[in-house]
Amino acid sequence: MSSEANTGGCLGKPMKRKEDPRFIQGKGRYVDDITLPGMLHMAIVRSPYPHAEITSIDVSEAMKVPGVKAVITGKDLDAAGLGWLPTFHGLDKQMVLAIGKVLFQYQEVAAVFAETRAAAADGAEAVQVEYAPLPVVADPFTARKDEVLLRPDREQKTNHIYHWEVGDKDGTARALESSPKRISQRIWFQRCHPAPLETCGCVAQFDTMGRLQFYVTSQAPHVYRTALAIVTGIPEDKIHVVSPDIGGGFGNKVPVYPGYVCAIVGALKLGRPVKWIETRTENLTSTGFARDYHMDVEIGAGADGRITAMHVATTADHGAFDAAADPTKYPAGMFGIVTGSYDVPAAHAEVDAYFTNKAPGGIAYRCSFRVTEASYAIERAMDILADELGIDAAELRRRNFVRKDQYPYQSRLGFTYDSGDYDRTLQLALDRIGYTQLLKEQAEKRVRGELMGIGFSTFTEVVGAGPSKHFDILGIKMFDSAEIRIHPTGAGIVRAGTKSQGQGHETTWAQIVAEELGLDPQNIMVEEGDTDTAPYGLGTYASRSTPVAGGAIALAARRVREKARKVAAHLLEVGESDVEWKDYKFQVKGVPAKTVTMKEVAFAAYTNMAQNEPGLEASYYYDPPNMTFPSGAYVAVVDIDRETGEVKVRKFLAVDDCGTIINPLVVEGQIHGGLTEGFAIAFMQEIQYDGEGNNLNTNFTDYLLPTSLETPQWETAKTVTPSPHHPIGAKGVGESPNVGSPAAFVNAVVDALSPLGVRHLDMPITRDKVWRAIRAAEIGTVVA
C-alpha cells in the first residue's frame, strides 16, 4: 500500500517481508524451476573408492542407453585445458573430473548428458570404471606422517598444506610457563555439513549471441562470473550469471563446483542448454563440508582467574583439495578471533592443515570463516578453566571481558574490535534467565543426584569481510556495492552486489534506502543476483552483507540525497547551503514551514531540475575501514535423563548485540535458525568417515536435521552497541547464533555431568556418549 506521506523511521521496524508473496504461493523461481527449450540433463558418475587409480573408463554401454547424448571424463576436460579448477582460496586447485586417480569417496569421475533426468541416471549407472585401490589416509594425524602422498600433482611433495600462525609465540610460551594455573584440552569441532534444503545446481546455455547464460545456486554470482572467465577463457562480457531464488545457502553455495564446469562444457559441446541438479547424497558427500578442526587449547591464569596467556595449535583436516573458501591472506580464516571477548595479554594461535581422502571444503555452515571453531574453542576452554579454578563460569568471563573503555580494542592476534558492552549483555542474560534461582535449583537437584546443567557462551565474532587492505578472494578485494535509482513518482530500485538466500534483503535493503531518503520501502524494489545489472559485489556469506553492502546502500542513498538536495534547493528557491535534511524532508535552515519531500524532489529531478543533472541515481562501492564485531551472551539450561543419556534443553536464551537493527523480525528469525543449526551440531550432526575412508553419513537418514519436535523454544533478547565505523552502526547477525550456541550447549551438558567428574565431551553429544560418561563415573573411572 503506497502512501503520500513518507513512512519515516524505517530502521528498526519489524516490517513484513516483501519477498514472501511469491514463496507462499509456490511461485519462487529456484534453479530447478528453470526449463529451457531443448534442455538436456546431466548426471555425474562418482567414485566408490576413497583413494584409487582409475585404470579404465568405458562409456560405450552408457552411450547405448536411449536418450544419452554424450559422456565426458577428466581426460576430455584436461585435453581442453579444463581439467583443473582453481579453488577460492587460490593456493590450490581441484580436479573437475578425476584425472588419473580419485581422492575421496563420491568424487566426480564422469558426466553424462541425456534427454531426460531418468536417462541421465541410467546412463551414469552404465558407465564402467575400473579402479585400483590405493592406501587410504583417513585422518590428518595419519596424513601428517607423509607415508602416503596424496597430491603428487603439487610442487611440495607433502600432505601438509600450510602452517599459519599469528601472535607472539615465545612471549606466550613464557607467560604460560609462569602462570600459576594452567589448563589444556584437545577440543575437536567435528566435521559437519550445512545441508540447505535446496541442493546445488545450475542451468547452462550458450545463447544465440554466443553468451553463456548461467543460472546457478550461487551466493556470489559476480565472483563466479570472473572465476568462470578465468577458467574457461570465455570473455567476461560474454558470461551472464544469474542467481535466482536460492533455497538456503549457509556457505554451501559459495564454492564453484565441478558439476558447474561440466554443465558448461556440455552446453558448449552439445549446443543445447544443460541442467544439473545434484541429489542430496551428492550434496552431503561432495560439496563443501564445514569445520573438522582439532584444537589443542592451553590457557594460563592467575588464581584470581585473570587470564595471562593463551595458545591454540590446530590440526585442520581439509579433505583432498584445499577448497576452503577463505580470503587469500587468511588460510585459517578469522581463527585469530580465538581470544574471544577477553582481554588476553599474551596469545599465539597456529593452524596446520593436511590433505586427507575426504571431500574438500572447510568453510561453510555459518562459520564466518572459522569463527565458529575459534569461538567454540575459547568458550569451551573458559568453562574448563572455571572448573579448574573453582570460579563461577559467568564470573570468570566477566573478570576477563574486554572493558567498555578499551574500545577500539586491539587484540594480541591482530583484530581491532569496534565496540561492545559485554558486561551489559551478560547481565541482561543472567537477569532474564534467573541465574541465581537456577543455581539454587541445581544445588538442590545435585543433592538428589539429578543432572541439571547451565552453560554459557559469551562470544565475540568478527564479520564484514572486509577492508581491501587485508581481504581478497582470487585477488578481488572484498568491497561491496549498491546502485540506487529513484523514479519520477518517488519509487525506486536498489541493486546490490550481495545475494540473499533467505536473509530478507528485498526488505532490509529497501528499509535502509527508505530510511535515508524518506520514501516508502514498499516502493523500493531490490534486485540482486543478476551479473548483467547488479554492481560488482563479493556476495552473501560470512555475515558480510549488512556490514559491507548495507554500508554501500546507505552511502549510495546519501549520494542520492546530495543530488536531491540540489534540486530541492531549486524547488525551495534557496541556495544549496541553506537546505538541510531534517525529519525525512528537505527543509530551509531555520524555516521549518518551508519543506519539500523526497517524493516531490524525485518528480522534479525529471521534470524541473533546472541546471542540475537530470534523473536521480547514484552508486557506491564501499571499502569498509574495518570488520565488525557482533557479540552475545547465550545461556542454555539442560536436564539429563540418567537412564538414557537424553539431554533435554529446558531453556535457551540468546542475548545478541549486533549493533543497529534494520528489521527485528528478520534478525529474530535469523537467530532462531542459527540456534537450531547450533543445536543440531551440538547434539546430532557429524559427517563421519571410517578408517577406510567410507563416508557414513550420506543422506538425511544418517546426517540428521532436527524436526519441529526436537527443536527447543528459543528466547531472544538484545543489547545494542552500534558499530562506530559503520554508516548505520549495524554489525550483521546471521552467523552469530551458530557461532555462539554450540559452546553453550556443550558447557551446559558438561556442567550437568561435572559432579561425576566429566570435564569435556566432544560433539555431537549423543545419548550414548552421555550415558557412557555417567556409567564410567558410576563405576569409578573418570572420563576426560
Binding site: R117, A118, A121, D122, E125, T279, T281, E643, T644, G645, E646, M684, Q688, L696, N697, T701, D702, L704, L705, P706, T707, L709, E710, T766, R767, D768, W771, R772
Partner: protein, 290 residues
C-alpha cells in the same frame, strides 16, 4: 534419484494381484504404501522388474473390529490406526502408542501396518508390536489363504514367511481381555529415525491382579524383532512389583543382541532395552490403575 525402469500392473482384486505375483515370481514386488520400497528403488537397491499396485484393491482397505479382535487390511494406513474409533480403548494402548511414532506424521499417511510387517526392518515398529500382542498374519497364495502366527512370520532381517507369488493381506490382533493395557517405548534420535531401541509391552491381568498374559518384544535388538520370553515367563502368574520389573528388564537386556551403529554401541542399546521394558511395564501398569 530415479528408480530403474519397471513394469507397472494395477490390481483391482486380491485374486488379480496374486495372479500377477504368481506369474512374475521373485521379479515382482507388491506396492502398497511404498514408503520403504520406493526409497530403496530410488537408490536402486531394489530393482523389481514388476510392481503390482494393490492400492486400488478395495477389499484390502479396512480396519475392523470383530468380537473385540482387530483386523487390519493390507492397504490400511498407519494413520488410519492412529485415528481408529477403537484406538482410545485401554486394551489397544500398545498399538496406539506405536501408531504415533512410526516414521513421521506424513509418511504414516501412506505407510501400511501390513507392509511394515512384510518389510521386517530390524528396527521397524510394527513387528515388535505384533510380537508382543501375538498377532497373526493372513497370507494369500495360489492355493488360498493361510494364517501364520507372527512368531513364525518374522524370519530374519527383511525376510518373512511370504514366499514368491504370495502376498500378505491382513494382520489380526487377538481380542485382549478387558484388563489389558500396553505401552510402546521408543528412543529415536529424531522423528523419522529408526529406533535406537524400542520395547513393546502388553499385559493382561487376572481379577486378583496377577499377570494372566504378558507380551514383551524388542525392536532394534537383533536381526529381527524379538520376544523376550524369559521376561514374559517371569511375569505370568505373579503380581507386578518393582523387583519383578527390574528382573524383566534385566532379561530384556540379556536377550537384546543389537548391532553397533551410528545410533549407539551394543552396550548402550542393550542397556536401553532394559530401561524401555521397565518403563513400558510401569506405564502399562499405570494404565491398568496399578
Amino acid at each position: 534419484m530415479i528408480p530403474a525402469a519397471f513394469e507397472y500392473l494395477r490390481a483391482s482384486s486380491v485374486d488379480e494381484a496374486v495372479a500377477h505375483l504368481q506369474q512374475h515370481g521373485g521379479d515382482a514386488r507388491v506396492l502398497a504404501g511404498g514408503q520403504s520400497l520406493i526409497p530403496a528403488m530410488r537408490f536402486r537397491l531394489a530393482r523389481p522388474g514388476v510392481l503390482v499396485d494393490i492400492n486400488n484393491v478395495r477389499e484390502l482397505n479396512y480396519l475392523r473390529t470383530n468380537n473385540g479382535a482387530v483386523e487390519i487390511g493390507a492397504t490400511a494406513r498407519d494413520a488410519d490406526v492412529e485415528r481408529a474409533p477403537w484406538i482410545a480403548d485401554r486394551r489397544w494402548t500398545l498399538l496406539r502408542d506405536a501408531s504415533r511414532v512410526v516414521a513421521d506424521p506424513v509418511v504414516r499417511q501412506m505407510g501400511t501396518v501390513v507392509g511394515s510387517l512384510c518389510h521386517n526392518d530390524p528396527a521397524g515398529d510394527w513387528p515388535a508390536v505384533a510380537l508382543a500382542s501375538r498377532a497373526d498374519v493372513v497370507v494369500r497364495g495360489r492355493d488360498g489363504a493361510r494364517t501364520i502366527p507372527i512368531d513364525g512370520f518374522l524370519v530374519d532381517s527383511y525376510t518373512t514367511a511370504v514366499g514368491d507369488g504370495e502376498m500378505a493381506i491382513a494382520v489380526r490382533f487377538k481380542s485382549p481381555d478387558t484388563r489389558t493395557a500396553g505401552s510402546y517405548q521408543k528412543i529415536e534420535r529424531k522423528v523419522g529415525d529408526f529406533a535406537t531401541a524400542a520395547a513393546a509391552v502388553q499385559i493382561s491381568l487376572k481379577a486378583d491382579g496377577t499377570v494372566h498374559e504378558a507380551g514383551i518384544a524388542l525392536s532394534a535388538a537383533g536381526s529381527c524383532a524379538v520376544r523376550v520370553e524369559a521376561a514374559e515367563r517371569l511375569l505370568v502368574g505373579r503380581e507386578v512389583t518393582p523387583e519383578l520389573i527390574r528382573a524383566a528388564a534385566d532379561a530384556a537386556s540379556e536377550k537384546s543382541a543389537p548391532q553397533a551403529d551410528l545410533r549407539g554401541s551394543v552396550d548402550y542399546k542393550k542397556h536401553l532395552a532394559g530401561v524401555l521394558v521397565a518403563r513400558g511395564l510401569r506405564q502399562a501398569m499405570a494404565r491398568l490403575g496399578g
